[in-house]
Structures are given as C-alpha cells and as structure tokens.
Symmetry: C2
Subunit: 392 residues, 2 copies
C-alpha cells in the first residue's frame, strides 16, 4: 500500500509493527530541525474496506501506546481502551479499520530520544524538540503510506484530543469526523506548572546524567516516579481520591509515626510511580510534556481558535467530564464554541462524573453511548454500511 516511490519499509519485529522512512526522507519539524531516519510504530485492528473509507485513527495520550485494543507484547499490559475499541464496541472493529501509532518522541517503537541517532548512539537530549503538529505530521505519513486519503474519524482523549484537533486543523479534507475528548486547545499555566515539576524531578535525578543515561545503563527511575506521581494526582478528581481512599490506612490499624506509606493513597501513588518507570522512558517524558506545553492551536492561526477550523468540512464532537480539573469542561467548551464560530458542524457533550480526567479511560456508560451515537451518525453520513458483525 505504500507508494513505490517512498523510501520507506514496513517491518514487524519483537511484536512491534513499524514503518521506517530512510534517511533521505526526513520529517521536517516545527522547530526547523528534522528527524531521519524516522520510525513510526503502529497497530491496526479490523479491516480496511475496499474504498478505504472506514479508517479511524486513534491518538493516544501522554503515556499511552499503540496497543489500544490488544495487550502490549513488550510490557504485557492489557489494551488501554478496552471498553471503546473492539468488536461491537463504540469503535467497532467489525466495522472500522482502527489505526493507532506511538507518538513521535515516544518510547514504544516510535523515533524518540532513546532511539539511535545517525551516529548510532542514543539521541538523549540531542533529540530535537517536537510539537503536537510534528506528531500529527508523522501520523499523516503513516496514513498516506497506508493508502488512505481521507480518515473516517480521528479520535483521542487528553493529548490525544490535541492531536485530533491538530489533524482537523492541518488536514481538514482528510478528516471526515473528529472526536476530541477531555482536552484543550492550549495547555494552561497550571498544566505547564505541573509538567515542569515532573521535568525538574527527572532532571534532579543524578542518574539522568543530562539525558545521557542510556549509555550508563542506569535509568533515572526515582525522578521519573516522582514525575508520574505528581501528574497522576491531576488525573483524578478530589472526589475520586476521597471516594477511593479518603484517609484509610494501608494494611495497618494505626499510623506508623514515620515515613512508611501509612495511607492507602500514598501506597497507591508509590505503586503508580514505581510501575511507570518499568514501561516508560524518562527523556520521552521530557519531550512529550514539552510538546504539550507548546500546544496552543489558536496561536498558529493568528490567535483566534475559530480560524483554525474556518469552513471546516469535518464534523466534530467534543466530550468533557464534569470533574476533570486537568482539562476542565471550560477548556472543552471553548473548543466547541470556536468550532461553532468557525461554521463547523459541532456538538458538545459533558458527562457528569466524579472520576476526573481519567474518566475517558474508565467505565462511563453515558460517554460510551454518546460516542457511539456520534460515530454511528457520522458513519451514516459517510454512507458506511454496517458489516455483518456490527451492532444491531
């Protein structure tokens, strides 16, 4: 499916499917720098129909990966969106061809700071800064190589939602429908602040060694764990933390009068931090958070978000969760308002929940049915017929 002219090759090793663009086909970046060779690691589910009109690109969040609907063969972790993507689910793999690619700068097969630079050693901090627009540009190369001229839908939550919006803004004719979930068109000062805490925690770890830890064989695990712990708090609502943990003690009747994880919430956070370092690269965390800090879609369109979507042919749905304080409803409403101002077909759905930002990854029946409704209506508008296995 890849054009014969493109200097790229498909590979599948160690459970990771990749598309590798050779050194003479560099990816141009927002910063002016470029990356070559470029490896895009991706996964697909379902079958592309004959007119290639049923492709859905799922964009993953900060620490996600391409294994949206199947276990990750490297980490062993289960599919990260098991209630959304699969046979008979809102993104029905009996009906749609689902693509998910590891984001540029990531660490699950995509070219990132842990990848070998042209000199053979890991990039480390020599890796160029990337932006959300760069991530989307890399994904566009994959979609093109797959021979898909127009995606039926681009969808993502959190920074996946930023990518979805960037797709619709950059390639309006190649995106029939766009679902942006629990996201923002610009990263807020508070969110920059939290990411900066995480970066400083990583950089404070002497094992980070100026980003050069790969060659020393020891990773900055403690710093990365602290970064993850700080971020994780922002993914949960205060109500969810209270509901789940409150002040319950961890496997003890009395406090220890010390610095053990006396409280369940401490034990939970420590576990989140410790398990994260086994599966994520610290420099990737730096680069991806920086890309998100830099995200300000309106800024690229003269300061008016509506300009980014002027006369867009794409149909949009923006989803927000009432208790999300990482990307609060107000940020999502601002996107919906801009879409309406741009004359785009847009709806906005706000789900009442106490689960906070992570709600989009958890069991939220109202979200699932609203998403199903949006996708089904868009499929009907595109004239996509139901497959045999599709939901009744």
């Amino acid at each position: 499916m890849i054009p014969a002219s493109a200097p790229a090759k498909w590979t599948a090793t160690g459970g990771l499917r990749t598309l590798v663009f050779a050194a003479n086909a560099p990816l141009q970046l927002s910063s002016g720098a470029h990356i070559a060779p470029l490896t895009i690691a991706f996964e697909t589910y379902g079958a592309l129909n004959t007119d290639k009109s049923n492709a859905i690109l799922v964009c993953h969040a900060l620490t996600g990966d391409q294994f949206v609907a199947s276990p990750n063969p490297i980490t062993g972790r289960p599919a990260w969106w098991p209630r959304i993507v699969g046979p008979g689910l809102p993104i029905d793999t009996n009906r749609f061809y689902v693509i998910c690619a590891n984001i540029l700068g990531g660490c699950m097969g995509a070219t990132g700071p842990a990848s070998p630079a042209p000199d053979g050693a890991a990039y480390g901090l020599r890796f160029p800064a990337v932006t959300v627009a760069d991530m989307v540009r890399a994904q566009a190369q994959l979609i093109e190589a797959l021979g898909i001229s127009s995606l039926f839908c681009v969808i993502g939550g959190s920074i996946g939602g930023m990518q979805a919006l960037q797709w619709a803004a950059a390639y309006p004719k190649r995106v029939f429908a766009c679902a942006a979930i629990a996201t923002a068109a610009r990263h807020s000062a508070q969110n920059i602040a939290f990411y900066e805490v995480g970066r400083q925690a990583i950089m404070a770890d002497p094992d980070w060694r100026g980003g050069d830890y790969v060659k020393h064989g020891v990773r900055p695990a403690k710093g990365l764990a602290v970064a993850r712990m700080a971020a994780h708090i922002t993914y949960m609502s205060e109500a969810a933390l209270k509901h789940k943990f409150d002040r319950e003690l961890q496997a003890r009747d009395e406090v220890s009068f010390g610095f053990d994880a006396d409280f369940q919430v401490e034990s939970y956070l420590r576990h989140q931090g410790a398990s994260f370092v086994d599966r994520f690269d610290a420099n990737s965390y730096l680069y991806i958070t920086r890309a998100v800090d830099y995200f300000d879609l309106a800024a690229d369109y003269g300061g008016a978000l509506a300009q980014a979507f002027k006369d867009s042919p794409t149909r949009f749905c923006v989803f927000a969760f009432s208790s999300d304080w990482h990307y609060p409803p107000a940020e999502n409403r601002a996107i919906a308002r801009a879409l309406v101002a741009a004359g785009a077909e847009a709806s906005y759905v706000e789900i009442e929940t106490d689960k906070g930002h992570d709600a989009f990854l958890l069991e939220e029946p109202a979200f699932e049915s609203a998403l199903t409704g949006f996708i089904d209506a868009a499929a009907a508008a595109r004239g996509l017929t139901l497959n045999a296995g599709a939901r009744a």
Copy 2:
C-alpha cells in the same frame, strides 16, 4: 515570668529568642516518644497588659516562621503577615500582645530534625514524629511560661488554622477567641497525595542520605526544590496562574524548543523552589508535612468533629477563600457546621477571590475588614479597652 520551678531558661542569640526546657522536663508526644531538651523559638510584638488578657497567639503555616510582623534576622525576609499584624492593623500591636512561635519540628530555632540530639549530632530521621497536637502542646508550655493563663485569641491560616482549632479543642478555657483561616479539620487524600510527592522528591535526592545530610555538609536542595514547586501550585488558583502568567514567555519572543524556562510560570516556579532551599530544612519539611497528614481532629474525639468543641466557651470565626482548592470552602464550612452543632459561638466568612489558598497572605481587603470585625467584637466582649494608639 517563667515559674521559678520550671527547668527552663530564656535566651536570645543570633536574633532568635528562645525558651529552652532542660532534659529533665521532656515534651511528651502523641506517638509516646518524648523530646528533651526542648527549645521553643518565638517572637513577640506589643505589650502584655497588666491582667495578661490581651495576648494573641499567631500560629504560622507550613513554611512560615515566628517573624510574623518583623523581618527575619536569619533569612532577611520581610514579615510574612504585614497587612494583618502591626500598629493599627487588624491584629493591632498597639493594643494586643502578639506571640508567634516556630512550630515543633521546624527549622527557625524550634527543636526539629536539624537540632542536636542528646548525643550531640543532628537528629536527622532519629527525630520522633510529631503531630499538630504536639506542636500545640509545645506552644502551651511557652504560653504558660509567659504567665498567660488565657489567650485572648489564637489565630492561624492553613496549618496555622489547624493549630488554632487544636488549641481550642485541647484547652477550651485558655482560648477566648479562635480564628481559623483557610484550613481543614482533616487533611484530605488529595493533600496527603501532594505531600507524599514532595516527600518522595526529597527522599529521592541522593544528597538526602537517609536524612543524615547534615553531617555530610551537602543538603538535598534539588529534591526539596521539587517538593516546594509541587506544593506551590496548590497554593494558587488556576485562575490566579492564568491571570498572573497565562502562557506568557519569559524574556523571549519565541519558545526555545528545549528545556529552558520558556514560560514565565516555569521561571516563577523554579525561583520558588530555588529560594526555598536557602531558608528551609528538608527533614523539617518531611516531619511537618507528616504531622499535617496525620491531622484529623474528629478522630481524636470519637469521629465526630462537634465533640471536639462540645460546650466550648470559645468564640470562633472560620474564614475561607472561594478559589482555595488546597483547603476549599467546603472543608472550612464543615468546621463551622461542627462548631454550631457543638453549641459554640461561631461565624463563617467566605471571601470571593481568585487568589487561591495564598489569599490569606495577600491583599484581601474584605478578609482584613472581616477579621478586624471579629477581633474587635471579641475584644469588646472580653472588656479590652482601646489603647491610645488603637484605630478610631
């Protein structure tokens, strides 16, 4: 003023006034351990009247000190509550005798983990865990030594407010009035989580050396800075961060495509972290945050907060700030409701502001006038006459 029988002595060295209790007068702690010798460092303003009825104890917050109304001679930092305590201010030093003591476990003269243990070396992690009740017990020894049998008022914001509530609960007959500001009667799961991130950041710093850094001569500055940065975000509202910084760049026109402090909010946070480590001890940060985690006033009174204040003769005012998400209005309202349920004389004032938790330290005229009103009414109830210098 100190009872002749008490094995204590007053000292004043290096700009710090202290009261030192000898080894044979240990402070008993909630944990069952004790501390001896015990040093209480404090500052006073104004003059005690002849019947010793005009004393106000100000309880400082997590990283505060006793220099509530005068510059700190050690750090050179200005008074931390310059709009509240001073001649003609809401806590009028022409009228009241104001006392503020460094909290137990602190690092501005109070006995804490950096103090010498009985063996002469710094305690480090050998320092026993302390609680808010222990901090208050130490303050009570100071007040007693000053010959004051009943405080006119105990007042504090944030964890100073916890101390004020603890005072009223533990010593109801020794507290005529109590002002609890931007506080909570129990530390929430979210707040425990944030403190735990800070502690893990400190403990992840190899310079921390299991708490034994004093003898190695290098302090865990990077870890402590990260802890401070994370905490500082919780002291400001999202609106205040947006209003103050939004996405403004720091001394540049374009982003750097790197990890410099491109954004003003990053630069600000880094400065907060860096300046904090010059004035604060990392182990003190661990011990004090732990004390606050453990704070759950109702738990000490059978689980019902109202029981802590049953038939209290103290008059209370609870102040909250609308945009405070560290100790939100709901937490403060819960205190006020418990006070009413206990039959105590209590009022509740909620100030509309976008300044977040730190509002109690900033310019908030509505807060200042409400506080003045509470103090003046209480002074009238106690029959305190106005001094010559008092406000008209």
